[in-house]
């Protein structure tokens, strides 16, 4: 992307007029940016110029710092005449004011004007597109501008301090030439600097694009290929699509609960695993969170692992027996306790007349919760789905379950990691 094009979103950058410029395109660019008449902007510059040259300094600085725009409409002859006239008026007014207010003799101000005009001519040439101009004219302008700048500087130096005249002529010539060269090549340096910035931005964009491409290749494209191969197995396709959706969602929207070792992340992870293994859809909502830092005692952290594995059992239970493909999990972490609701709208059952096989699963959920001091409520009725509520109190100092307990090490390892970003 060339420098100076307004980005699609965000405020547009201030750019100088290119084809429509009269001197540097600064006033025109500023007028376009602010949405005001260019004549007013020029008048303001002239008025500011009368204030000890502030307008001139502002104009020069903006010329340095603003990249060229991409407009193609040339300024009309009338506008040019008007602008040149204003520039002339500005110069005359600032010179007169300089003489009147500061008592500077005209002879001292003129060289400054010569330097400015010379630099202006040269900078304009640097700004111009390389094609479509007679080369001899360009060179003539460059040479004339350079001569004006160096000559003007020499006069300034010689007039400014009579003592300087006693310095070695060679030294003086070198100094003046150096100053002139620096002034004259400013546009070149600016252009190089800008090109460097553009190049860096392009490199960053490329790296980003490459990262996105490789991620999409590893995830979405691979999954789509697998789905094509397994089109005959709808269950498998749904499973692949779901797990891919979850993964891509985590990557795109960067849900903090998707990574890190917090309790919410662990539960989300457990739900994702069951989703994959049993081909069901699990909606997880978590409110609040608990990071490993909040639970310094490893023994206590294991109760959260126990809660996670109980949640897994409840989910598997729902996946196997409810006949429903969609299960909601809601986890609320408060200062006192953690509650997990696992809910399906499936066939349900009568808790009073429960079959031996289901009793086993209920027991395995209950068993895990009991071991860590939690409780389980199972609410179900035939045809109305099942609602499993797991409650685990937050650890307190006098808690008898804070000591040596058998735990589920496989899940405990989940909570051992640090949660990042918090």
């Amino acid at each position: 992307m060339p420098a100076g094009r307004p980005s699609p979103d965000g405020p547009s950058r201030l750019v100088r007029r290119n084809a429509g410029r009269v001197i540097g395109g600064v006033a025109g660019g500023l007028a376009d940016h602010l949405g005001v008449d260019v004549f007013r902007v020029r008048v303001v510059f002239v008025l500011l110029g009368a204030l000890a040259g502030a307008g001139v300094a502002a104009y020069v600085l903006l010329w340095f710092l603003c990249p060229l725009g991409e407009d193609t409409e040339r300024a009309s002859a009338a506008e040019r005449r008007q602008a040149y006239g204003l520039a002339l008026v500005g110069s005359v007014v600032s010179i007169l004011l300089g003489i009147a207010a500061a008592g500077t003799p005209l002879a001292n101000l003129l060289p400054f004007l010569v330097v400015l005009v010379g630099a202006g001519v040269v900078w304009r040439e640097f700004d111009a597109p390389a094609t479509g101009r007679g080369t001899w004219r360009t060179w003539a302008r460059l040479a004339g501008g350079a001569a004006a700048v160096v000559g003007g500087l020499a006069v300034v130096v010689l007039l400014g301090d009579p003592d300087v005249g006693r310095l070695s002529t060679t030294l003086l010539a070198v100094g003046v030439t150096l100053a002139g060269v620096v002034m004259l090549t400013v546009p070149l340096w600016m252009r190089m600097w800008r090109a460097l910035g553009d190049e860096r931005a392009a490199r960053i964009r490329d790296a980003e694009r490459e990262e996105i491409a490789s991620h999409l290749h590893d995830s979405v494209l691979q999954t789509l290929a697998l789905i094509q191969k397994k089109a005959a197995k709808p269950d498998e396709v749904v499973r692949l699509a779901r797990s891919q959706e979850r993964e891509l969602r985590g990557w795109l929207f960067g849900d903090p609960a998707q990574h890190g070792g917090s309790l919410a992340a662990t539960l989300t992870g457990v739900c994702g695993e069951v989703e994959d293994d049993y081909g069901i859809e699990v909606d997880v909502i978590t409110v609040g969170d608990l990071s490993p830092d909040d639970e310094p005692h490893a023994e206590r952290r294991r109760r959260w692992a126990g809660l996670a594995s109980a949640t897994r059992e409840a989910l598997i239970n729902a996946a196997k027996h409810s006949g429903e493909r969609k299960v909601s999990v809601y986890c609320e972490i408060t200062d006192e306790q953690v509650e997990v609701f696992v809910r399906d709208r499936g066939v349900g059952f009568d808790p009073a007349t429960v079959g031996e096989d289901r009793q086993g699963i209920v027991r395995s959920v209950r068993g895990r919760m009991d071991r860590f001091g939690g409780s389980v409520t199972i609410d179900s009725a035939p045809g109305r789905g099942t609602n499993v509520v797991l409650r685990m109190p937050r650890a307190h100092e006098d808690d008898p379950h804070g000591r040596n307990m058998p735990g589920d090490d496989a899940v405990a390892s989940h909570t051992g990691r640090q949660e990042d970003g918090q």
């Binding site: 795109l252 849900d255 909606d283 909502i285 978590t286 969170d289 809601y330 918090q422």
Partner: protein
Amino acid sequence: MFLVDDHAVFRSGVRAELAGERGLSIAGEAGTVAESIEHIVASRPDVVLLDVHMPGGGGVAVLRGVRDRLGGDTPVFLALSVSDAAEDVIATIRAGARGYVTKTIDGAELADAVRRVADGDAVFSPRLAGFVLDSFTGRSSVPEPALDPELDSLTRREMEVLRLLARGYTYREIAEELFISIKTVETHASNVLRKTQQSNRNALTRWAATRHIG
């Protein structure tokens, strides 16, 4: 109603799904922000189904654009997005959408949601209810600045409704659970949304900022 989505395939899918629903007709559709604003202002639909992620500012830009043009006469917006990221949900609700549902919603539920927002009620997805609860409870592990008095302005009943919403209950199921009418559930949800949009803008922003999503 009016459909805004930058994917034509998705628009035709929604059209097809809502085709058999009574009382719903589609006034038009658009795929870009500028086009949407123009057509919505011209056709004055009752409800706008709004995509959140679109080039050129997304659903929030459409909301703002239409509001600027129509002022108080703005149609009701229901966000329908594939994204359930906190920042999208919050930004859209704060911009004035009357509800937020995700694209996995089925046709009947969507039609129901459209009717409900058209009647002036709020529609919450469980996800949205979760975010609101998170911001109102302030119980998350992330330390937050002292809460505004306004933050406690959710009534106990509104909290209960929100919690059930977050647990995936439908409005009907919540009504049964709490022994209140569906209309009351809708009123509670509307109140929550109103409070979320108005009094707690600052709190929500801060909440989002503490999670690095603002």
